[in-house]
């Protein structure tokens, strides 16, 4: 049970950051693809589509600096899946809210499921690689900028051992020097005459 607790915490941490990260990724995808429903307009949709997952990915990678790379990759997948759910919920919201029998984004004659599948596929293709790249880069950078507790302890231990080795070597060198000095004193030519 005691072993399970830290693993559960780690899982919850990854899930929490992933679910939180899925909100901006979905929001900015909506901003780019459904600009009419957003309170402000943007012109650089391409930049938004690339930069948002990259930025979220990098920060996500940073946040998981104490977790291994597999957790980061799994978290990225969770971000993409939950973002897809949020985008689907957005498209279907008028139907779910009961104000319309068909989604307004879907043109007459178009099948809702196909429309959603196309958008989600496009969303995954556009965001997943960038998000994963950002997360891996963020995770790699975090080792330098904000090393994990485990890594920090390892480094401290290594430094301590290195210091001890240095001290040991210095002591040994000092002993050798002392031995050499006493050996010179004991040489016959240098012995005091009786």
């Amino acid at each position: 049970m005691a072993e399970l607790k830290p693993r559960l915490w780690a899982f919850l941490e990854v899930m929490m950051y992933s679910l939180a990260g899925s909100i901006p990724v979905a929001a900015f995808f909506i901003l780019a693809f459904f600009p009419g429903y957003v309170p402000f307009s943007i012109t650089e949709t391409g930049t938004i589509l690339i930069l948002t997952p990259l930025l979220v990915g990098v920060l996500f990678g940073f946040m998981l600096s104490e977790r291994d790379l597999r957790s980061v990759a799994a978290g990225t997948l969770v971000i993409v899946i939950s973002s897809s759910i949020l985008v689907t919920a957005f498209i279907m919201s008028p139907i779910l809210a009961g104000v319309a029998s068909a989604a307004p984004a879907v043109a007459p004659g178009e099948v809702l499921e196909i429309y959603i599948a196309q958008r989600i596929l496009l969303f995954i293709v556009l965001s997943f690689p960038v998000l994963l790249l950002g997360a891996v880069v963020g995770r790699a950078l975090s080792e330098r900028v904000v090393p994990s507790e485990e890594l920090r302890l390892e480094l401290e231990q290594l430094r301590k051992e290195t210091r001890e080795w240095h001290e040991l070597l210095e002591r040994r060198a000092e002993l050798q020097r002392q031995e050499a000095r006493s050996a010179r004193k004991e040489e016959p030519g240098l012995e005091p005459k009786k």
């Binding site: 950051y17 929001a27 009419g36 429903y37 319309a100 307004p104 904000v146």
Partner: protein, 186 residues
């Protein structure tokens, strides 16, 4: 906590909050705009049609006003409106036949308001009046009273363009033909 980590966590939270606000706002707009799109097209009525004659004036005048009601929960901005008007000549056959309507046409009105268009508040209404003159030369078109001694005014070719405040979304619809019986004045 490391200072850099705290800073990055704050940045992450800021992005999440901004994204959350955008998402909730978009979701809300999607529902509200769709509801408005469903209800608004059936909330346009002919408020009044008058055909006054003024002493000493040969030309006819037609004053037509429309009432735009907003049954939705979001303000609607009227961006453009146009229609054509005809007076039924009472001949047998389909009174809404396109060719026949063209021959009976009195005039047309159109206005493009764009972003400066009036805003109709939720539950509110807007009345727009349009006046047109029928030159004396075309007065033969006005010589058709129905059995009740009234004009049968046909409003057709209606086109409404509207949007919502603060967005680029533009919607258009074409209400069906409206017929009004109008008593001659003067």
């Amino acid at each position: 906590m490391n200072r850099v980590r705290a800073l990055l966590l704050t940045a992450y939270l800021v992005i999440v909050v901004v994204g959350g606000v955008i998402y909730v706002q978009s979701l809300s707009n999607m529902v509200l705009y769709t509801e408005a799109d469903q209800k608004f097209p059936s909330s346009i009525y002919v408020n009044e049609v008058r055909i006054p004659r003024y002493a000493g004036v040969q030309d006819y005048s037609i004053i037509c006003s429309f009432r735009f009601e907003n049954p939705a929960r979001v303000p609607i901005r009227l961006r453009a409106f146009s229609f054509e008007i005809a007076i039924d000549n009472g001949a047998p056959g389909n009174p809404y036949d396109e060719v026949r309507l063209t021959s009976e046409k009195i005039g047309e009105a159109a206005e493009s308001l764009g972003d400066a268009g009036p805003l109709i508040d939720p539950g509110g209404k807007l009345i727009r009046s349009y006046a047109m003159r029928v030159p004396a030369a075309d007065s033969s078109l006005m010589n058709h009273l129905n059995a009740n001694g009234n004009y049968t005014v046909i409003l057709y070719g209606l086109a409404v363009s509207y949007g919502y405040s603060g967005t680029t979304l533009l919607r258009q619809f074409w209400p069906g033909i409206m017929t009004v019986e109008v008593a001659p004045i003067g």
